[in-house]
Amino acid sequence: MFEKGQAIVIEKPRAAVIKEISLAPVDDETVVVKTTYSAISTGTEMKVWSGISGSLGGELWYPLVPGYEEVGEVVHVGKKVKNFKVGDRVMANECRYYPDLCAAWGGQCGTVIKNKKTSPSAFDGPVKIPDGISDQEAVLAYLAAVAHKGFKRVGPRAGQTIFVIGMGMVGTSWIQLAKLAGCRVIGMDLNDKRLKLGAKFADEVIDGKSNDPAEILKKMTDGKKADIVVECSGDPASVTHLYQYLKDGGWDLTDEPGHIHLQADYPYPLILTPYQNWFTKNMNMSLTCAIRPDGKAEILKLISEGKFDVKTILESEITPEMPVKDAQKAYEMIERSKKDIFKVILKW
């Protein structure tokens, strides 16, 4: 009954097609979701399309089914499924197994099989979308949940200054979460359109093309710079400069040192040098991957309470909607746009 489904298949770098593929077996514990909307993330997913993604320890190969921003309607539940029923609207997201193809991460499929085989992690499960949140809005909640995991890890406090680099979905989500926590948030991006979007959420923004962004940040903060620097651009060159934005600290018993959080995926080596500039910050650095088990539900809750704004992003001209049949065109357009496109929503 759910043996085959339509999916986006990237056959080799830069070559995506829509075709029918074999799906994972459906067992008593399976939830099957018919996709209504998905999205193309301009970070990770574009890297698997263009072929510059990491090898993921041998787990990345072609042909593959990309994607993980995917929502839809439950069309089947196995006998042992308790929490979902047919007709529920859910965030489905990753499907980490297909019989014939690599799943990286398998979400761009018209019929998503969710069970222990395809979604083994604690955070992989589908999550119900509350009434009042549209499918398109819920699509965007996945990367907000990625930012949420990093945010929880770092634990910013009210009054702290947070500098967020990269105004994509992850970066703007970080800004919103930090603002909710009472932080002062300054954003930066190299792209004018993204900077404009980021400015709708941040207290202030710095144009990454400025002569000396660190000096601008210093002036904005009365010489102190940022308590926390969050790197969301995914640009390895950006990481090399991060210490410049971080406050001094960690010398005495009470001067808390700065914190750098790497929130993106970096296709090329991160170079930390000269070391003196880093270790004299006495800094903390953290890295997080994916989302917490409660992440998606937390973000959906914030959206339904009106505390987290995805409408502004959806309504922005840089987040176009296209039919899924145009997926290859969408990938090409995103690459050509040089980050002028924030994200493409795909209608199934």
Binding site: G57, I271, L287
Partner: protein, 350 residues
């Protein structure tokens, strides 16, 4: 009265001599300490000798006065001299750790401790942590020399926050790594000591539950065997080798997926003259790990290590293996560099 003193001067890379230098002015805020012992660190100090140290943002130039581990007797205390980091008032005749002297009229101070007479004041030692530390009775001068790098290790170990029962890998059994190993063991961790030199790891057996003689960059397999594949909760990197840092993620356990698991930690405790290069990124961020760096030590750390030495909980004696008179220092730098794998530290008698 304290205008000149004997010092080790590195005129340019690979050229050291012992000669008289002019001292910073002694004002009413100053404390002056006559050196009895110092030491050569095989990490940072040797790099100022062989020219491999960083530029320190333009603060490193030649000729320079190296070092920071000296101890001795207080010879003078100005009427407005500051108290120590833990609030003690010093007097003439006190035995103290003197350490950095960050300014000389004619030389770069990097960090100016290899000198027979140390002038400590606002100019030469501006930080609270820079103040001399009193050596308790029962701790010898020779032992007190080693409390400096012990304090450096303490700042890092405190920052990482070791929990009893955690598996901690310490890489690099020089004075900093071996100090960290001792502190980690005191905190109740299961310890694994790694060094490329069999000589270095053999001698630290009593502080480690396991020793591994191999390049830290290739330590995955032996540590997997010791931990039954679980790997380490914490890695403290003290080898100073960037190539080791680049492969550290493989030594850290899986983690950071659940709400109550924050994943493993890496602390970089060395000084790295070559760039650190983190790649493949997926191998790092899939571990949801935390990394930290620390420089020098916090106020009170020197005193804390001296207390541990006094209580018999910290073995300072194992941190050096040779003593020489100060006039032999110029020849000792190449000696230490050449025999790096069978040497740890040279103590200098003034």
């Amino acid at each position: 009265m304290f205008e000149k003193a004997k010092a080790v001067v590195i005129d340019r890379p690979f050229h050291a001599s012992v000669r008289e230098v002019r001292l910073p002015d002694v004002d009413e805020h100053s404390i002056v300490i006559r050196t009895l012992y110092s030491a050569i660190t095989t990490g940072t100090e040797l790099k100022t000798w062989n020219g491999r140290t960083g530029k320190l943002g333009g603060k490193l130039w030649y000729p320079l006065i190296p070092g920071y581990e000296q101890v001795g007797y207080v010879e003078y205390v100005g009427p407005k001299a500051k108290k120590t980091a833990i609030g003690e008032t010093l007097k003439v005749g006190d035995r103290v750790m003197a350490n950095e002297c960050r300014a000389y009229p004619d030389y770069c101070a990097a960090w100016g401790g290899q000198v027979g007479m140390t002038v400590k004041n606002e100019l030469t030692s501006p930080g609270v942590a820079d103040m001399p530390a009193k050596i308790p009775d029962g701790v010898s001068f020779e032992e007190a020399v080693l409390a400096y790098l012990g304090a450096v290790a303490k700042k890092g170990v405190d920052k990482v926050g070791i929990h009893a029962g955690e598996t901690v890998v310490v890489i690099g059994m020089g004075a900093v790594g071996l100090s960290a190993l001792q502190l980690v063991k005191l905190a109740g961790a299961k310890t694994i000591a790694v060094d490329i030199s069999p000589w270095r790891v053999e001698r630290v057996k009593k502080f480690a539950d396991h020793i591994v003689a191999c390049d830290g960059a290739k330590a995955h397999k032996p540590i997997a065997e010791i931990t039954n594949g679980r790997m380490a909760d914490v890695v403290i990197e003290a080898s100073g080798d960037s190539a080791v840092v680049n492969s550290l993620c493989c030594l850290i356990r899986e983690g950071g997926w659940d709400r109550d698991d924050d994943g493993g930690r890496i602390h970089l405790q060395g000084d790295y003259p070559d760039p650190i290069s983190i790649t493949q990124y997926s191998q790092w961020f899939n571990r949801n790990l935390r990394m930290s760096t620390s420089c020098a030590f916090k106020p009170g750390d020197k005193e804390a290590i001296l207390s541990l030495i006094k209580e018999g909980k910290f073995d300072a004696r194992i941190l050096w293996d040779k003593e020489i008179p100060v006039d032999d220092v110029p020849g000792e730098y190449p000696e230490l560099e050449e025999h790096h794998d069978t040497r740890i530290k040279t103590l200098i008698k003034w």
